[in-house]
Symmetry: C2
Subunit: 345 residues, 2 copies
């Protein structure tokens, strides 16, 4: 009936002349096994090529050693980098990683979470929480969740996010320094807190600093298209700002595209900046000024925090709440004299 009639623990036990309990102890590095016995068992394990069934282990132990990463859209260049960081850290801790696309849809998230729960997932890292916060926090109540990238609204939830506010402020001040007094912001959807925080910071930088500027905001999502659309609307209305900031680099690239298309020169006519510092931002073809996040650190810390709350079943007294520093990378799109490739400010 079974499909993978491989070597079972029982086979090892028989061959080594010990009980299954002893074999189990050996393969799990449990102490309380005489060295001689241990070596004999290990030899048999090697010889027979025994591999414990993760399935059976998970069933009996209640731990699958699998965690999940939820992202809105893996095709958004920011997420693959995060995914790699998370995978690396997870594998190192002996955990497998499942990546799920939520498509910013609470129902899709709910289905994923349900399936993951059925599969005995040990924990979830959600990088794109939005309308689906309840879907991930609610049902599998017991399953630990750590939010990254976007801050959740639940008061006791764990999160590790970047200092988007400081990043926005840095961009704002930088733009003023470059002599731009009207600054446009192409925002993200209102359910994404990182976008709101970026706007908040930008507003601070533009309107509260020693020099003052004016801030124009247009709604959008995280796509190139919404960057293009915003520019076209501004152009049509005859009120194109002297600088435009996208809620992320994709949007900023869309902004650049539409500007070029309408004959503007970047940055002479309009300066452009974004957030995330995706790999392509540094390309000589684009040279986009951007606020870089420490993705590796975010991923690594998230995994650590998650594994901690998995192994410690008691609800911790205080939730994990970390805000990682960001740094502004100034490139050609805001400063024509910036080094072609990479100038760190």
């Amino acid at each position: 009936v079974s499909r993978q009639r491989g070597v079972r623990i029982e086979d090892v036990a028989r061959e080594a002349g010990v009980s299954v309990a002893t074999v189990s102890r050996v393969v799990r590095d449990h102490s309380d096994v005489r060295d001689e016995t241990r070596e004999r068992v290990q030899e048999v394990v090697r010889r027979l090529g025994y591999r414990p069934s993760a399935l059976a282990r998970a069933l009996v132990s209640g731990r699958s050693r699998m965690i999940a990463l939820l992202v809105s859209d893996i095709a958004n260049p920011f997420y693959p980098q995060l995914a790699k960081a998370v995978e690396r850290q997870a594998l190192q801790a002996g955990y497998g990683l499942v990546i799920c696309n939520t498509e910013e849809d609470a129902e899709v998230t709910r289905r994923h979470v349900e399936r993951l729960h059925d599969q005995g997932i040990d924990g979830i890292i959600h990088a794109s929480v939005g309308l689906d916060e309840q879907a991930v926090l609610g049902p599998g109540g017991a399953t630990p969740v750590v939010f990254v990238n976007r801050r959740p609204s639940a008061p006791r939830a764990n999160y590790i996010v970047s200092d988007n506010r400081a990043g926005g402020e840095a961009i704002g001040r930088h733009l003023l320094e470059m002599g731009r007094t009207t600054v446009g912001f192409v925002a993200g959807p209102s359910f994404a807190r990182n976008g709101l925080e970026r706007l908040e910071g930008l507003r601070l930088g533009v309107t509260e600093g020693p020099r003052r500027g004016e801030l124009l905001v247009k709604g959008g999502d995280f796509s190139r298209e919404s960057g293009q659309a915003a520019v076209r609307e501004w152009v049509a209305a005859g009120e194109l700002p002297a600088a435009i900031v996208g809620v992320n680099d994709s949007v900023a690239i869309g902004v650049m595209e539409a500007l070029i298309e309408t004959g503007r020169v970047i940055p002479q006519d309009v300066a452009v900046a974004g957030f995330d510092d995706i790999y392509l931002a540094s390309s000589g073809l684009i040279g986009l000024t951007s606020v870089a996040q420490d993705i590796d650190r975010m991923g690594a810390r998230a995994v650590r925090a998650l594994l901690r709350s998995i192994s410690d079943p008691t609800p911790p007294l205080r939730a994990v709440r970390e805000i990682l520093p960001t740094r502004l990378i100034v490139r050609h799109s805001t400063n024509p004299t910036a080094l072609q490739a990479d100038a760190v400010a």
Copy 2:
């Protein structure tokens, strides 16, 4: 001892006044259940919020309803798109998807495959087979594998790839038509068959057509950096071709970067083209001529083929071998008169 003391099938059975077997039949939509009984059980299932444990099911049935997608590097923009296509199709069939980064490293692949096997994975789609072909085909011998994107060397393996040869040929002919007679190709690693096929096709298009050109080849990998390096070497040697083709779009973008950096104008001085037609190729900032693959179809077919060979344990008489058509998308990087955004040739 157990962690998720949820509702068990036994609870449902007791509450509904039937045996666990009957409940099992109902939740699996098995026939041979009286309508009245079925409804009563369903009501209890709903009321108690019973969800079958995928773990227990997998253990006893030998099917985890999980498949894996292996890619060399999820940060390469081609793969996320493929991953989405595969995920969509898998979910629709009731399967979960695990994505693993092989880093082009056979040992990494081996570890992934081992872990997946331990977890009872039902099948594997490998999108980046290279030196790790044995690692994925060998040990879990029983686990079905379908290769996509890169063709495997094993004679009886299943694969679904694009017609890279035809794509290369199309680029070659197009470049000759645009008056370029010396064409450079920045190749991929020799273990990646898609790269070899692209070169083969390009050679055909450049040297065998009605018009003749000269082909120069430089080694590289699939990264932007190798595109840059190739250009720099050609420049240093004073033998920069009139057109350069990258083994993929990332390489082509690297080529463009280095050309710009050395003061060349694209396409007047040097025309550039690539493969994959990643999302960014169509950007007005880049406008890269590229050979597009039908990624959605590739993903969908791969999943279907995989699920077929999962459900039919008998080794099929003939392996699945499909070659999907590609199409050349001409943009500004080879044809200055091409429409800014998207011109399909």
